[in-house]
């Protein structure tokens, strides 16, 4: 191809023309016209996409099935300190393992996911809703516990892989705990039986004037 002065410009114009003509035909392949006309066309987000946190609950009742125990680890680990938790107390003032207040200030939250990684109870996860703007400057960008609580079915619908892994882990932990509890119960029962047998043996060796000890 002859390289006369001006040929570079003409080659560039060929590229631009190719893009223009291609933009009328390539819509299906999205090669030369890649605009998605929001809000009519919304992007399909990948599974792992994250925007702001939410709290997971199992079952139907958010308050009863809430996994959070207000351990405050996420509040401590959060880099911009956007989580505020207050632990619940019962009627006598004793601390319960559930939060009364769980607020996340999403104008501060940077979506870094460190709270998710630090939670030992699989209770806080990342949501993928991004249309959270509001007209009220002061209150509406703090999300409260009621809005944060979303069901495990919802979590499964937005992030099936992670939800499945979490469920598997919880299930494994539950089985392990049940097995450990069974072993512990057996041990306790065996210890009790041994103690009872020992007491019975002592009883047989002793005179019968001693009052019977109540069963432990």
């Amino acid at each position: 191809m002859m390289n006369f002065p001006g040929s570079g410009i003409l080659k560039g114009m060929v590229v631009t023309a190719r893009n223009m003509i291609g933009s009328y035909f390539d819509r299906a392949h999205a090669k030369r016209l890649i605009t998605e006309q929001y809000p009519e066309e919304r992007p399909t987000l990948p599974e792992a996409s994250r925007s702001f946190p939410f709290l997971v609950f199992d079952g139907q009742d958010p308050e009863a099935g809430m996994r959070c125990v207000a351990c405050k680890i996420c509040e401590k680990e959060c880099p911009p300190q956007c989580i505020f938790i207050e632990q619940d107390r019962d009627a006598n003032g004793k601390l319960l393992r559930r939060p009364k207040i769980f607020d996340i200030d999403i104008s501060v939250c940077m979506g870094c996911q460190i709270c998710v990684e630090s939670c030992p109870f699989e209770s806080i996860r990342m949501d993928n809703i991004y249309e959270m703007s509001s007209c009220d400057r002061f209150g509406s960008l703090v999300i409260h516990k009621g809005q944060l609580l979303k069901s495990n079915e919802y979590y499964r619908s937005i992030n099936p892989t992670e939800a499945a892994e979490t469920d598997a882990r919880i299930e494994a932990a539950r089985i392990k705990k049940a097995a450990a509890a069974k072993v512990a119960a057996e041990k306790v029962a065996a210890a009790r039986a041994a103690a009872a047998a020992k007491a019975a043996a002592e009883q047989a060796a002793q005179p019968p004037s001693e009052p019977e000890q109540p069963a432990p």
Partner: protein
Amino acid sequence: MSFQPHTFSFNESDGAGASTLDVSLGPQHPSTHGVFRMNVRMDGETIVKLQPVFGYLHRNHEKLAESHSWLGTMPYTDRLDYICPITNNWAYAVAVEKLAGIEVPERAEYIRVIVGELTRLQNHTAFLGFILGDMGAWGSALMYAFREREKILDLFEWLTGARMMVNYMRFGGVRCDLPVGWLEKARAYVETYPAFLDEMEQLLTGNEILLARLQGVGVLSGERAINGGLSGPVLRASGIDYDIRKVDGYGVYPRLNFRIPRGTKGDCFDRFMLRILEARESIKILRQAFAQIPEGPTLNPAVKQRGFKPPVGEAYGRIEGPKGELGFHLISEGGEKPYRIHIRPPSLINLTLLEEMCLGTKLADVMVILGSIDIVLGEVDR
């Protein structure tokens, strides 16, 4: 130490005369890559003195890090050079691993190389768009570049959950493993990338106007570049063969076969072409990494991420980021929070020679030279 604002202005004796004009190419400007200001004294059209003024984007990264845990600083490093967040994470992770003597599993190293080189690709792609925008090319090249860059960012979103603020590296590995199908999609993308580069070269490299504006402009000799502590494509365009991937050999780079291009004249055109050549070399690295990546763990299980307490000491860890040498100097007192973190940003160090490159050129060239150094204000100001 006291702050003396009068030292920030020109003295009248600095070449001022009746025909000179002082202009402030202010913080709000379409072509300065962020909030960056240059006080310029011009004699007619020629630059007689230039003083960069920055700090408009100072966000206190280094002081903030002293009140977060070691892991809590990781999301903040995303925001330093916001065009390439993964390499920032990587530099911090490398520095902490050096401080604490942590081993990284092989699969994690390969994943780091893959996402690091993808970041380099998208940074150089964006650079092509930005420098054409600086020259007034009305955004065609910018749109094509961003079209390609979006595909890489989609890959990142699939892998890490976020396009830009990825928070992906951890001490001793990466946060999560590659999802099913990611590697194939990345491989397919890397196969289409050379066609895009060819199209951009056809649009740009032979264009006479581009050649006239980039060639011979902003020449920097290799010796001055070394004296100024420059790094990255700017240094290599001046003819110096220095790439930390080869010099330090961090990660699995010693196992990968790639070349380091360097230019001969040190002007803006060399820096422009060099980034295109580096992108091609990155494609080679990526292909090899895709072929060689083993199975295995992606995180060193012996390392506690939460409540991480490195031993007392100091370490400086650096990597070859897309813009140059990005380094983290860490001082630890054995606690959960660092005593001091200092960030060595490539863009700031590369800017120290801006005046030298711009003296004697015309005002329109200053924008082009600034564009060819490829700065990001998030890094310059921290």
